[in-house]
């Protein structure tokens, strides 16, 4: 459910902007963000160049039972990959169901 207006009801990941740098997970005062990622060889490099790797995001989850909506992760993200949205988080009957997995693409 969205109110259609800008408000601070939950936090959304803008997946293409995320580089899995871990800064949000480390800055979070409530330890509610968990990130899995893996390194992959970069494609499309000019021939003859050194082999390079990039980090690929596998899983990004926010535990809404821990989050206190302080917005520090949004402030700290150097790639602007997190933003406030007006959507309410899903209710749940047990704490585990409040973990919202925003990216889940296991290899």
């Amino acid at each position: 459910m969205s109110t259609g207006e800008e408000s601070h009801r939950s936090i959304r990941l803008i997946e293409p902007a995320c580089t899995s740098c871990m800064i949000c997970a480390r800055e979070c005062p409530t330890w509610c963000i968990s990130i899995d990622s893996h390194a992959e060889a970069m494609k499309g490099l000019p021939s003859g160049s050194r082999q390079r790797t990039e980090n690929v995001l596998d899983r990004f989850a926010i535990d809404w039972s821990l989050c206190m909506y302080c917005g520090i992760c949004i402030e700290e993200c150097p790639y602007d990959a997190l933003e406030w949205v007006g959507d309410l988080t899903e209710p749940g009957f047990v704490a585990e169901s409040l973990v919202e997995v925003m990216v889940a693409q296991r290899r």
Binding site: C21, M22, A25, R26, W31, S37, H38
Partner: protein, 184 residues
């Protein structure tokens, strides 16, 4: 910022008020452990009647005997700020309001002193311990440590034959980040 000795604190605040800085802005506290064994109280007052930069007073208190005269008699609004500093930093404002402002009456400890250990977190898994590109924390590396949780060698798993760690040692080991190589 003007440093004021402990015993001249109330006089200095009254003098500023008499000078026309009669609008109390805020009062705060800083734990300066690691630099000096002190808590620093900072007070900012403004003048609304004339164009002047706000004036800042500060006063250093020894951490093990943090007592300071209250300025509630000069600025009644300072009471909230003093009560907050009192419970979060363990400062006693002599002659001031002693009721708690934010914490439970049963709560013990001084949460904003830097040697305060977040004991409940020492046994928890920190999601920030992973490096970018990792799904599991790889062992044997110089892993990042979360802030507020001291190294087990300093607090928790300390060698029983060693003396108890001092506040400066606990605070220094709980800053988070990559553990430095320690001199033994």
């Amino acid at each position: 910022m003007t440093d004021v000795p402990l015993e001249g604190w109330l006089d200095a605040v009254e003098a500023l008020q008499a000078e026309g800085f009669d609008y109390f802005d805020w009062l705060g506290c800083v734990d300066e452990i690691g630099r000096r064994d002190c808590l620093r109280i900072v007070l900012v007052v403004r003048s609304l009647s004339r164009q002047a930069e706000p004036r800042t007073l500060s006063c250093s208190l020894p951490r093990d005997n943090a007592r300071l005269d209250t300025v509630q008699g000069v600025f009644a609004g300072a009471a909230w700020h003093e009560r907050e500093a009192a419970e979060l930093f363990g400062v006693e404002f002599v002659g001031g309001e002693r009721r708690r402002l934010l914490l439970n009456p049963e709560f013990e400890g001084t949460p904003l002193r830097k040697d305060e250990v977040l004991a409940a977190r020492t046994g928890l898994y920190w999601p920030g311990a992973k490096e970018p590109g990792e799904s599991d924390v790889s062992p044997g590396r110089r892993r990042l440590e979360p802030p507020g949780v001291p190294e087990p060698a300093v607090w928790g798993d300390r060698d029983a034959s060693q003396p108890a760690p001092g506040p400066a040692e606990v605070a220094d080991s709980a800053v988070g980040g990559r553990p430095r190589r320690r001199r033994t």
